[in-house]
């Protein structure tokens, strides 16, 4: 059998921003659907709103900067930023908070620094941090997962809540929201309760919170897809998850009754999403292979530190931004060996 071969250079695949972003979106779909399944369709409305706003803000700034609008909007990067931010927010987040978060993400964190490729900070995480610092109460309003909720909202009702900011027929936020598993673990461990007592609550599933663990699994699947199509490098998610597991195993082993276990940490909050989709942002992550290992390790350590001793129940956004600041230093000290030279020079 004879294969047709041509002389080099071989042109094998077209890799561009639009292709990368398209695959990231494919990979986000299963996790997003799981999110909508467990926490109601509000997230889909927020998603549509956030994408429209992100494209609008981006077009506005590009117009002010007198740059071509169409190629930038069609590369999908604003869409992915909006998507990631919405996944980090509670499903019934009011519209004006989405607008503020997206505004800061796109206008301040991305375009003011020069647009895609120049932003030192992950735009979606900047938007998230602005919101959690400014509106701490609204950011904790997570509805109970559908399996545990007495009240669930359809698409139309969710839209009404998101756009009016008030709940229908005399419901109160206290009645439909619950503390998240991370939150509950944190406060009740603080009250000297045993871990086994806390995890008897129906909010906890096999290894994480009910609902949360499955959303995490679907994002994990999406992440494996991204690895398969070689959009992301394995080093950041690997070192992030490995460091998180090691660090939480150590804290757990030191006090098994008073510390949540490693699997709980891995499948609570947004660790899986962060490991595969947020920390792997090609712009704000280090360029070298060893640098990426350090970067993922640093994010995981910050997550554990903030969860253990910080003021917020989860610290992924802060961890990512703190490590974003370190990236230029990492890139400065860890340079890959130039081809033809030994790496020791």
């Amino acid at each position: 059998m004879q294969f047709e071969t041509s002389a080099s250079p071989h042109n094998n695949d077209v890799n561009n921003v639009a292709r990368v972003m398209r695959h990231v979106i494919y990979a986000l779909i299963p996790g997003t659907l799981a999110y909508a399944w467990f926490f109601g369709p509000g997230v889909l409305i927020n998603l549509a709103l956030a994408i429209a706003l992100a494209l609008g803000f981006e077009a506005l700034v590009l117009k002010l900067r007198k740059q071509a609008i169409k190629p930038v909007l069609s590369d999908g990067s604003a869409l992915v930023t909006a998507w990631l931010l919405v996944l980090a927010l509670p499903p019934l987040t009011p519209w004006w908070m989405i607008a503020i978060g997206i505004g800061f993400a796109i206008i301040v964190a991305k375009q003011l620094y020069g647009g895609l490729g120049y932003n030192p900070f992950n735009p979606a995480m900047v938007g998230y941090v602005v919101l959690i610092i400014s509106f701490p109460r609204e950011m904790t309003l997570w509805p109970a997962p559908q399996e545990l909720a007495q009240q669930s909202f359809g698409l139309w009702q969710s839209a009404q809540i998101i756009f009016s900011g008030s709940l229908p027929n005399a419901l109160s936020w206290d009645a439909i929201t619950m503390a998240t598993p991370l939150d509950i673990t944190r406060t009740q461990l603080g009250q000297n309760m045993m871990l086994s007592e806390i995890q008897d609550s129906p909010l906890f599933g096999t290894f994480g919170g009910v609902g949360w663990e499955w959303i995490g699994n679907w994002f994990f699947l999406g992440g494996l897809y991204l690895l398969k199509v070689k959009i992301i490098d394995w080093r950041i998610p690997f070192s992030l998850i490995a460091t998180l597991l090691i660090a939480t195993t150590l804290t757990y082993a030191s006090a098994p009754d008073a510390q949540a276990g490693p699997m709980f940490h891995l499948f609570s909050g947004g660790v899986i999403l962060a490991a595969f989709f947020i920390a792997t942002d090609p712009v704000s992550a280090p360029a070298s292979n060893r640098g990426r290992l350090i970067y993922g390790c640093g994010i995981a350590l910050f997550i554990v530190i903030i969860r253990q001793w910080g003021g917020y129940p989860d610290g992924i956004a802060f961890a990512v931004l703190l490590m974003n600041m370190v990236v230029p230093t990492i890139d400065h000290y860890i340079k890959p060996a130039v081809f033809g030279q030994s790496s020791k020079e």
Binding site: I100, V130, I133, S134, F135, P136
Partner: protein, 234 residues
Amino acid sequence: MSDNAKIFREGLWNNNAGLVQLLGLCPLLAVTSTVINGLGLGLATMATLVLSNSVVSMIRHVVRPEIRIPVFVLVIAAIVTSIELAMSAWLHGLYTILGIFIPLIVTNCAIIGRAEAFASKNNVKQAALDGFAMGLGFTLLLVVLGGMRELIGMGTLFSQAHLMFGEAARGMTLHLMGEDYRGFLLAILPPGAFFGMGILIVVKNLIDQRRKDKVSSLATIKVVVEPAQPPATS
């Protein structure tokens, strides 16, 4: 343009201590969470600038250049201490809010900067005027930044005005965003100060750029007109 007008223009706009020289940013960013805080610190800084510039100008022939900096610092520290004690006596509420930033006026680079760059080279009248203009420019900046942050962060203007103007001013607080405004905490927190300052610098540069464009476009028109005139010699 007379000298005095030029001094004013420099202090208020062209060479504004905060917007252009970027001096004294520490108190500027730290205390401008409300209009009243900004105004209080601005006025204290202005008073210091006028007095320190005058004194430095008076002693400029006596002080040897080798030791001028320590002497200037001593003069400024003495003035700030008296202003601090005066504020503690008469504006005690504001004094407790501004706290460490009043004694820190001593280290405000804008003050020693003016003493060195202007007061030690000019006569007393001009030095005092320069201190007043620079201080006024700085105060206006503090008030505008404080107003922006207070309005966005809390939806009010002139809250706690009684700290400065006495009990009668309690009703001065304006609720411009409506009573049920939730507040945007970021504007009150330190990042809000940096964002606000950045936006103000952008606005100033934009205005300057517009003006320059206008002047240069007028200049090009002039150039176009000139060749139309008949040559003087042939």
